[in-house]
């Protein structure tokens, strides 16, 4: 029984981290039709930066620095390259692939080819007592907590604020949004910066959990892709549900059938897609 509790909790942890990653990914996808292949690379870059910053400046600076560095990188990418390819999926996907390769290589140049695992901060280490006398690592609960906060923040931002309204207007009818005086290029830039920030935040808090290693950029991207396909392209709520499902399936699958790890993700993905081709919460 306890074993199952751990499996579920592990799944929720992974799911939480995945949600922070995937929410940024699906945001760029839903608003600007950008399939950001560099999203995972931004995650990796952030993990490296967090690892470096942590050694000298502590946890909070490490996470914040990682997230803002990713956001800044995202802004640079968007302004130099993506801005010339508005709403065209194919050039955007190729360009972000190029960026992903470059960023990952910068990772090798800056931090070498070895994995870097950040340590947990002392005030988040150890275990917390949960009901049914289950003890679970505090840091992992922290990750889940961050995911919940991000979810609430995004929900609030998109449905309650003026900026969120502008974003939704752009998605509904981009031309008419311009007709209403909305600075659409600036809205798009802002969305992409937020998307990159989320990738960076995930990279920061994920650094003690998954570590920073060459290859993470595509491992993370693949999980984000699955989440987005299952949850529905562009849906944040869908991404939340799908992240948890994928996280739990992955964790349970890995512990029950270690050599069939990806099958346990694959099969449910296929089933869901047969029943709902556009994903759980996707619109056609």
């Amino acid at each position: 029984m306890q074993l199952w509790a751990f499996r579920i909790l592990d799944g929720l942890t992974l799911g939480g981290l995945l949600f922070v990653v995937a929410s940024g990914f699906t945001l760029a996808l839903g608003v600007m039709k950008i399939v950001n292949i560099a999203h995972g690379a931004l995650y990796l870059l952030a993990s490296y930066i967090a690892w470096s910053l942590f050694q000298h400046y502590g946890f909070v600076v490490a996470i914040a620095g990682a997230a803002f560095a990713a956001a800044f990188a995202g802004l640079a990418i968007q302004q130099t390259v993506l801005r010339r390819m508005y709403l065209q999926p194919l050039p955007q996907i190729l360009a972000t692939m190029g960026v992903a390769l470059i960023i990952a290589e910068f990772g090798v140049i800056g931090w070498g080819g070895y994995p870097r695992v950040m340590s947990e901060p002392s005030w988040l280490s150890g275990a917390t007592a949960l009901p049914q006398s289950v003890f679970y690592p505090t840091y992992r609960l922290f990750i889940v907590g961050v995911a919940v906060v991000v979810a609430l923040f995004l929900w609030g931002l998109l449905s309650k604020t003026r900026l969120g309204g502008l974003v939704r207007a752009c998605v509904d009818d981009e031309e008419m949004a311009r007709g209403m005086g909305v600075n659409v290029p600036r809205v798009y830039a802002g969305v992409f910066v937020l998307s990159s920030f989320l990738a960076g935040l995930a990279g920061g808090i994920g650094a003690p959990f998954l570590g920073a290693y060459q290859g993470a950029q595509f491992d993370i991207l693949l999980l984000a892709l699955i989440v987005v396909v299952v949850g529905g392209l562009g849906s944040i709520a869908g991404a939340f549900v799908a992240s948890m499902v994928v996280g739990i399936l992955d964790s349970v699958g890995k512990s029950l059938f270690p050599s069939l790890a990806y099958f346990t993700l694959f099969a449910p993905m296929i089933i869901i897609l047969v029943l709902r081709p556009t994903g759980l919460r996707g619109r056609a």
């Binding site: 292949i37 692939m97 595509f218």
Partner: protein
């Protein structure tokens, strides 16, 4: 007959006509073909003769180029010819490679026929399964789905240690025969596979089916309403390309004698696309160049530049920003400039003096007036209680129309009255919310758009919906092929289809555009394009014709030839025409149906409608006090 005038930067005049006509016609193309054949032959000779003198590493790289060319070309057919952008070809490539690797290492060199058959079988059947899920999606969805599919397979190849060898992959894959152990000997096998694949692909691309793929790329909606089962064509080509990718994978496994997750990695998926784009989308030759370039880059440059991946990244970004035509496309552009073969822009408006060769508009082999066997024949088109809502908006509400055989009915109404929605419902692009449409007594309730065409329905579009980058001739051919059996022919060449080409010629000569058959249709004048809209619809030999604002955008002078064309249509043809131009509507139609707010406002003869005060009110408006 109207003749072409030249572009503005040259002097115009009748004297240059013949020179212009020869420029558009065969000679430039024959020369291009001769050069292309010559180039191919010399490359082939080089490919056969050169290898023995090559150092082993270079030989391996050349083999790899051939193998990846197959992968790239398979993607090109999907992407460049059909317009289906996919990042999943690496999946079938990988399945092919791994299957060969697994079977050969476990069961020895002699098992190679099984290895190959299994590899091709698995690759093709995976494509068949994946296609069922993915093909019905379009654009972005399809792209993301294919990427997810190939990446999940990559994950599986890493974690399924027992079968795939995990991260390390499968090594020391034996070749079928001891004698093929030498790379040089195997090279010729690889080359033969490559040549066979190219041959098959070229046949495919030149076939009627291949032409249908290009039509789908240009306009799916037009293809549907010309009689093509678009989904089926896309599915078939998806499976075929999966097969070709698996062939590439098989060749890869034997060539390198090694299969690892790299073969399925995201980089391979993307590299395939990069090869196609920088080589030239939709050219088949381009991807070969692209593949060779990338393979050489990967294998040679990486030795010299430490972080050469950054260079590769830059190439991706450059390709995204700049490569609109790719290498081959650019070469073609330079070629046509070098031979000074200009794109002759057709500046000419429709000529009112043109006489129409009306006989060609009669369906071949049919008498001009349908002999009525039973006088109680079902009406050509009967619409009962038809409604269509989009969310809360009721675009069409409870509309009933009956059109008898040979009717000439105009559908009028202000903007937003639901006229085009009505046509979309009749032609099958939309499904009704309620009500029924019957064609010659048969209900269209479960009949898809393309089948309706075969039952005798055809339509034109208000916004010109032709196949822009295809030639005039290809446009008409597609119109004729839509209802012909040969549209699934994978092997014969379109140029050899006698009946199709004859009929196309007939139709083009009606509007005097046979001479311009090799021009891309987007270079024709607007007036000519509108005429082609109608001729294309006639190509399917319809019994019921829906014309959606045929005179849209035509100048006053060009409208008269359009009216003449419509009036010269076969009397047994049932014609419904949406028009805003009252002159056209009242000259062509004998019955009028007026829609307003999606509802039927009035129906009757010309005079009845003219006298109808409610109609007048709607058009002129009246204070509804």
């Amino acid at each position: 007959m109207p003749f072409a005038r030249e572009t503005a930067d040259r002097t115009t005049g009748a004297g240059l006509t013949s020179r212009v006509l020869t420029l558009i016609r065969a000679p430039g193309q024959a020369r291009a073909r001769r050069i292309r054949v010559g180039l191919t032959l010399s490359l082939l000779v080089a490919a056969v003769v050169a290898p023995p003198s090559l150092p082993p590493f270079l030989l391996t790289v050349v083999m790899l180029s051939l193998v990846y060319s197959i992968l790239a070309m398979s993607l090109d057919i999907l992407m460049g010819y059909t317009g289906m952008e996919s990042l999943g070809q690496a999946a079938f490539f990988g399945i092919g490679a791994y299957t060969v690797g697994i079977v050969m290492t476990r069961h020895g060199a002699a098992s190679w026929p099984w290895a190959v058959l299994l590899a091709l079988g698995l690759g093709t059947s995976s494509a068949a399964v994946a296609g069922l899920l993915a093909v019905r999606l379009g654009g972005l969805f399809f792209l993301v789905m294919t990427l997810a599919f190939s990446q999940v397979l990559w994950g599986v190849s890493q974690s399924w240690d027992s079968m795939t060898g995990g991260y390390l992959g499968i090594t020391n894959i034996p070749r079928p025969y001891r004698s093929l152990g030498s790379d040089l000997h195997f090279y010729y096998v690889a080359l033969s596979i490559f040549v066979v694949v190219v041959f098959l692909m070229v046949r495919l691309v030149r076939s009627p089916f291949g032409l249908s793929l290009r039509g789908i790329r240009e306009s799916e909606s037009r293809m549907k309403t010309s009689g093509f089962n678009v989904w089926l064509h896309k599915y078939i080509v998806f499976v075929i390309c999966g097969f070709f990718a698996a062939v590439g994978g098989v060749a890869y496994a034997f060539a390198i004698q090694f299969a690892s997750p790299d073969v399925l990695s995201i980089t391979t998926s993307f590299n395939a696309m990069l090869m196609v784009i920088i080589g030239g989308v939709g050219t088949l030759l381009g991807p070969v160049l692209g593949a060779t370039g990338i393979v050489f880059l990967q294998n040679y440059v990486s030795g010299y530049i430490n972080h050469w991946i950054i260079l590769l990244g830059a190439i991706y970004i450059a390709a995204a920003l700049f490569a609109s035509k790719g290498v081959v496309g650019e070469v073609r552009k330079w070629w046509s400039r070098w031979t000074r073969r200009r794109i002759v822009r057709d500046e000419e408006a429709l000529d009112s003096r043109t006489s129409w060769s009306v006989a060609a508009l009669r369906p071949a082999g049919r008498p001009s007036v349908e002999s009525t066997n039973d006088s109680q024949e079902a009406a050509a088109l009967r619409i009962t209680g038809l409604s269509k809502s989009f969310g809360m908006i009721r675009a069409v509400e409870n509309v009933s129309i009956t059109a008898d055989v040979g009717a000439r009915m105009a559908i009028l109404g202000p903007n937003g009255a639901g006229k085009t929605t009505l046509f979309n419902l009749i032609s099958g692009l939309y499904k009704p919310s309620s009500g029924d449409i019957a064609l010659f007594g048969k209900s269209m309730a479960r009949v898809p758009a393309h089948t309706r065409v075969r039952m005798g329905l055809a339509r034109t579009y208000q916004v010109t919906n032709l196949y822009p980058t295809l030639t005039v001739l290809d446009n008409i051919r597609l119109g004729v092929l839509g209802t012909g059996a040969s549209r699934y022919a994978l092997h014969s060449s379109v140029a050899r289809l006698g009946r199709v080409n004859e009929r196309s010629r007939e139709l083009l000569e009606v509007i005097g555009l046979w001479e311009r058959r090799n021009m891309e249709v987007r270079h024709l004048s607007y007036g000519h394009q509108r005429q082609i809209e109608i001729i294309m619809a006639l190509a399917s030999e319809p019994k019921v014709l829906l014309l959606d604002e045929p005179a849209a955008g035509l100048s006053v002078a060009e409208t008269r030839p359009m009216i003449d064309l419509i009036r010269s249509l076969d009397p047994s043809l049932t014609v419904l025409i949406i028009e805003h131009d009252m002159d056209v509507a009242f000259e062509v139609a004998t019955e009028i149906t007026v829609l307003h707010n999606g509802q039927l406002l009035a129906q009757g003869s010309r005079d009845e409608i003219r006298a109808n005060s409610t109609v007048r009110d709607v058009y002129l408006g009246k204070a509804f006090a």
